[in-house]
């Protein structure tokens, strides 16, 4: 029988079959979390115990892994779950903010956050990213415009306190946690309705999903800033918020950790049973773009929206913009690409940005480079990226 799980379970199985056990493990946990079923949680945690034990040993024997994964997937496959219909959770119209001290002001901006989607917020420092997040979280009062929350949780409509309890804002530097890390997670879970054994299983599942099992007994001061961010994210997920606002979550993470956390955010946002709208600010432009449904580029308080290309929409002839790192000079490049529609060259941080006329073909450009034997260290099409707004 085809269930709503089938594609997900097939995906998990494929990961394991292809030897990508780490990603498969994470997606398996995602599938288990979707069920919101205590029995599945218990089985999954037992699997986690076995998996951790097996992988902890050098040359650990993972022969039983396929069978165990299959067993667990079969259990998950038989559990019904509630699927949430995606919808707009927050819509802001014409919001602006001017600080009394300083000259900065965030210019009027419209934004909607939809469950299951990630919105990237990019821009240089001091251009209003944090201001926008704080406005959306209700920490700042907009000078104009209004913000409307359409959260599905009925209790969130009682008062703004209850509304805020359904939002989660993670600042760039999360506040220090006191007491045991697990106690903090369990406390949050209890306040959000998880009691007794359900509380234990739920927090353990989230901890496992965030890859924090080895650090459960640690104290806040003993873990690195990357893991602090992951624990903060775990605490947020335990609460099952509808909107997640993250201010520079990648700031203190290494490249690999950045990629993993962004991927996790995408998986979490697209959950079937508890989808959420995520908005995150970052300087990591390309990484954010990869997972975002929409990207807002903020420059001196003005927003430039980057929407995904809609399927079936009429293609518009957009200019081709490329980043190129090469030892060639500006003049050599101008000469080489002159016939390919090159309109402008700017030099930004050791990298050339080449602006071609609308309708220029990337294939033609690559052929030109190949024929000329141009020494290329790095090449990227940024026509659809908000990177193009960062002009020198």
């Amino acid at each position: 029988m085809e269930t709503i799980y089938n594609p997900r379970l097939a995906e998990v199985k494929a990961y394991f079959d292809n030897g990508d056990t780490h990603l498969g493990y994470r997606r398996l946990l995602d599938a288990a979390i979707e069920t919101q079923n205590e029995s599945v949680f218990a089985d999954t945690l037992a699997f986690c115990d076995w998996y951790d034990g097996a992988t902890a040993q050098q040359n650990g024997n993972l022969d039983a892994l396929p069978a165990k994964v299959t067993d667990l997937l079969q259990v998950i496959d038989h559990v019904p779950y509630n699927e949430h219909t995606p919808g707009i959770l927050l819509s802001a119209r014409g919001i602006s903010k001017k600080y009394h001290k300083g000259n900065f002001s965030l210019q009027p901006l419209d934004i909607s956050l939809q469950s299951g989607e990630i919105t990237g917020l990019v821009g240089e420092n001091g251009n209003g990213k944090t201001t926008l997040l704080r406005l959306l979280y209700g920490e700042l009062k907009p000078d104009a415009g209004h913000i409307h929350y359409q959260l599905s949780n009925r209790s969130a409509q009682k008062s703004f306190y209850d509304t805020k309890s359904q939002l989660a804002f993670i600042p760039q530097r999360p506040p220090t946690w006191h007491a045991a890390l697990m106690d903090n997670l369990q406390l949050a879970a209890t306040h959000f309705g998880q009691q007794g054994r359900a509380n234990f299983l739920w927090t353990e599942m989230i901890v496992a999903r965030m890859g924090l099992r080895p650090f459960r007994s640690y104290t806040w001061s003993r873990i690195s800033s990357g893991y602090k961010m992951r624990f903060e994210l775990a605490r947020t997920l335990v609460k099952k918020p509808e909107i997640l606002l993250l201010d520079e979550p990648l700031a203190n993470l290494d490249v690999l950790a950045q990629q993993i956390i962004l991927e996790d955010l995408r998986f979490i946002a697209q959950s079937k049973s508890m989808p959420m709208a995520v908005i995150l600010s970052s300087q990591q432009l390309y990484e954010v773009e990869k997972v975002s449904t929409q990207v807002i580029f903020l420059q001196k308080g003005w927003a430039k929206m980057q929407q995904p290309a809609q399927q079936g929409s009429t293609p518009v002839e957009t200019p081709l913009i490329m980043e190129l790192e090469t030892t060639a000079t500006r003049e050599q490049l101008r000469e080489l690409f002159g016939a390919s529609g090159l309109q402008r060259i700017s030099f930004n941080g050791g990298i050339y940005i080449l602006y071609f006329a609308g309708g220029s073909s990337l294939g033609d450009i690559l052929q030109t480079i190949g024929r000329a034997g141009l020494p290329v260290k790095y090449l990227r099409d940024i026509s659809a990226s908000s990177r193009r707004f960062f002009d020198a």
């Binding site: 009394h100 209700g138 306190y161 007491a179 306040h191 998880q194």
Partner: protein, 495 residues
Amino acid sequence: MLKKLNQYLLTHYPLLWNTRIVQVLLVNAIIHLLFFFGGWVSVDAHNLQEKDYYFYRGSLTAFSVLCSIVVLIGWLIFYLRNNAFKSFYQLGKWHLTKEFALILLIVFSSITFLESYGYGERTKARRITNYTQLVQEVNTVNLAKAFIPTDKSDYFILNHCGNGFDEKVAYVRAVDYEDTLNNDRNDTNFIKIRNAMRRTDAFSYLHYCQTWANLDDTLSYRRNNQITHTVKDWIVNKRKDSITASIKQAIAICKKYGIGTELDAAALAALPFVDSNHTISRLVRINDYDGDLNASPYYLDEYALNRTFDYLDRCSTHSKTVGHWARLLLELYFMLGIGILLLCYRRFSKKVFLISIIGAGVWCIVLGMVAAGTRSETGLGILYLFLFGLFTAIALAALYAKRSKVLAGVLLNWHIYMIPTVFVAIAFLIVYNYNHAPHLYGVYDSARHCMDYPIGCWVENNFEIIAWGNLVFSLLYTGFIFNRFAKKWHIMPDE
């Protein structure tokens, strides 16, 4: 076991887990027990005379304060680790009120160790002498005391049982009524006393009219006229054996409590019969040392005996004593003060809390300087109430307009700091004005003045009720109303 309990509380009753109420109450219960035990062992029959019902030794008080500080700091280290309110966790409708109530309970249980010590003392004292025994002993000593004269004035002819204190013509041993230079020489009472002193029966056992140990609960003890009746009966009927037996019983009681005595029952019983007027011929010393070589050989430390009885009486009737309730009231106000401070720390940002604490200190200094400068109690009271009104009005205006979050928070803090004192300040103003109000009928007549100013009169006479009412109001207001303001403040945008 404790770990399991912690886990249970954490996953079922997060507020109880966060406040560590179970652990802290357990620790406090142990400390209270130790203090109770300390109080118990500190009491024996011989040191009851040294006990003070209201005050404890400085070292004991200091130790108790130290214990309170250690417990409260230890508790705060755990309690302040988590704050569901500031983290915007989902909270039940009465969560904030319950948290305040738990804070109060913990603070109260942590600042009242001395009460347990006192309770231990009282329990032991009651075990040494219960109330029935005490009544018997007091009545015995009161009767025997008639035959153990320590002060001639108790036997003066002008003493009349049943006279009110005001009407009594009291002979004072230290006054020389024959002194021609005394300004009161021509006073009516002086003349009466002087004339009476010239009589041969001026100081006689027959005139004894006292209840020597005059304890609070007069209903249970024999009255002075009953004692006088028995004394007269024994003397008139020459019941020397009864007198001897009574004095012996008193000596036995003194021995029980380690009271210094040097009494010869037979010799003292013989003294009333030395002459036909039953004159007081010999006094009993109340100090064990008297510089006068011709002083009486008899001695009774009546001060120590009185203290012993007084202490035992208070131990038996402590719940009825004014001091007991006054001290409880003081402790409850102290609890409220600490509770409000902690509540403000938990509800507001650290910045707002710090500004409000420092600001409150500055206001105290300013008001103190105003008070010292103007020397007007009424003016100071009115200024205080005006400031309270001003702070409250601005705080609420800012709160409902959702503007100036820091200012609103600081003013709300000041508002709640002042709440427990506002009605007391109003009451003080009323009483002050009542006491300084003009007397409408010329000569001061308290009853008439009271009728003219019934509110002032009522407030003055019922200050204790007002203090209790104010405490209850402050607790309810903080728990139910102020917490709502704090929640409203918490969701205010910063700018």
